[in-house]
Symmetry: C2
Subunit: 346 residues, 2 copies
């Protein structure tokens, strides 16, 4: 954060405060008793004037302008790539450190891309902007980090079950409304998603690369996993799918290690991963579910078993679920802020 | 079928006629103008007396008893494994040929397990019972058969997005009711599924093997794919997941061939697979969806692309969707019946 204010609690700004992630950022700062001098909330002109509560006090949302960052030490951005590209450099010039939840700077070699449980050391070399990774990437790889350290993961195969929240509050509302209409036999014209969402699943609503056939979400998972693990050799293939779930992503993962690994060893390593909770009850058929992950900080991991299709014994299958708005976005951003102000990272 | 009646259209019985699959069996026989002398409908005592329409005529559902199969040439069973185990041998002794949709006989070495587009020749050696495969197995492997013939598939990785219908009509109703309750803020006590179904996904509701960690559905996919492909060496790993979708299963598939295969070649082979429709529009982001697969005979296949995590160029990723009640169950059973009476299979 702004070094000039070292020793004093920071002035914090949230850009995109009225969005699905922005609201959760406010909640995370409050719930985690984040030490700050003051909190400023910014959004588009359309949302300016709204009031949001922080620590029992209503705060008025202001319109984001180039002048918004005077005196701000730490700016949490979650208002889309275009806003981040335009305003993050403005915030940095005004002396703020930016934690950006958009994809705008994630693959910039000068910008750390951080999951605090994995690569907090990357924070040391930031130049004003720190990128918060893609939600599916965070939820997929956080449980795998201790495995990767013990027995390098060389290949990662992912099939996701992604919630509406990744496309914002309007998509969550569309899922509810489209489902209500379906159950009542009424037509519903979708406005946010490209396909009917009620009782349906569809390939992720990002542009598909015409050459490779991968969509942008899948490419993010691949590139960001490599950058966060600092392992450009990691081989990744993802299939990203939307499912009619409100706010937690689930992921079916198969990974291959450099050396053979027993399911028990993988389970022990994953169970010990910070930020991860093992939910792996074979007898009761109780495993990670988005319903249980929603509203919680932990990534749930289970169904950890040997991949029977790899006779070398180097592959493990598992299933994870994590709150897309919390660990997939707001919580991870606030954890980055906490790591920044922790002693030794100033 | 009963050889003694060769040349005359068969007397057909449906066991489990009032179930989700039974109703679709009646529909398939009608829609495909299946030549039959008469149709008899059987169910449990609880459902006996109900009337179901066939070709414009109401047929009364009778209670299934050991005497039900007198004069029956062809019996389509879809009333669960216990009923099949008890009554299929009775039907065979009465001279009927049984096409059984349960898992009771699928892995019996004497019982053909048939997808007519893949292994119709297996019908020649039946001894009265023919097994209809697991829905997820049918929907996953039917599109892959031409690939397997051209360039042997050695490894198959599957993550499924399975609908409520696989657990029967009551599960479909539970999904509707649980979702309605959720949207209205009412509590809902699930009666069919082991977990809340509204806006949730969960690991398949079959018993999990305590040693391997795979559930019965995943083991079926593995064993049945091997048997239908007549390839016991095929290496398969599946993760089977329920999603809040009513009646079509989707599957994210990655397969590895013996030799390198280009995505274009895989697409050409899959597009030519009987029973499969290519839905693979990268520009419009239009790919297989359960909404589009529901009520249709075709398995939709798309998102066909090189698996970037396999540098040998031997792996392909794709996404498929198929109606669980039709190609996943009733339609495949009726297609088996059609193949049985076709010239050359008598």
């Amino acid at each position: 954060m702004g070094m000039e204010r070292r020793g004093k609690p920071p002035v914090v700004a949230i850009v995109g405060a009225t969005g699905a992630v922005g609201v959760e950022m406010i909640g995370c700062l409050e719930r985690r008793a984040f030490a700050l001098e003051s909190l400023r909330l910014y959004a588009s002109a359309r949302s300016a004037g709204k009031e949001l509560e922080f620590r029992g006090t209503p705060l008025k949302v202001e319109e984001l302008t180039e002048a918004s960052f005077a005196g701000v030490d730490l700016a949490l951005f979650s208002a889309g790539s275009a806003i981040s590209k335009q305003f993050a450099p403005v915030a940095v010039r005004a002396g703020a450190t930016v934690i950006d939840n958009s994809s705008a700077f994630r693959m910039d070699a000068e910008v750390p891309l951080v999951v605090p449980e994995i690569n907090p050391q990357a924070l040391r070399r930031h130049r004003g902007i720190i990128a918060n990774p893609n939600c599916t990437a965070i939820i997929s790889i956080t449980p795998l980090w201790p495995v990767h350290r013990a027995n390098r993961i060389v290949r990662l195969l992912i099939a996701s079950y992604q919630s509406a929240s990744g496309a914002g509050a309007a998509a969550m509302e569309e899922l509810r409304e489209a489902t209500r209409a379906y159950l009542e036999g009424r037509p519903y014209e979708q406005r946010v998603m490209p396909h009917p969402y009620a009782f349906n699943v569809f390939s992720h609503n990002t542009r598909v690369d015409p050459v490779s056939g991968y969509n942008e979400e899948e490419i993010k998972v691949r590139e960001e996993a490599r950058k966060i693990f600092a392992d450009p050799q990691l081989r990744v293939s993802a299939t990203c799918i939307r499912v009619p779930v409100l706010r937690a992503h689930s992921v079916a993962i198969t990974f291959e290690c450099q050396r053979p690994i027993a399911a028990e060893e993988a389970r022990r390593l994953i169970a010990g991963a910070p930020g991860v909770k093992l939910v792996d009850d074979r007898e009761r058929n109780y495993f990670p579910m988005p319903r249980d992950a929603s509203g919680g900080d932990a990534i749930l991991a289970g169904r950890i078993r040997q991949d029977l299709s790899d006779p070398s014994g180097r592959s493990i299958a598992l299933f994870v679920a994590g709150d897309q708005l919390l660990k997939g976005a707001a919580l991870n951003a606030v954890q980055i802020a906490e790591a920044l102000i922790a002693p030794g990272n100033g």
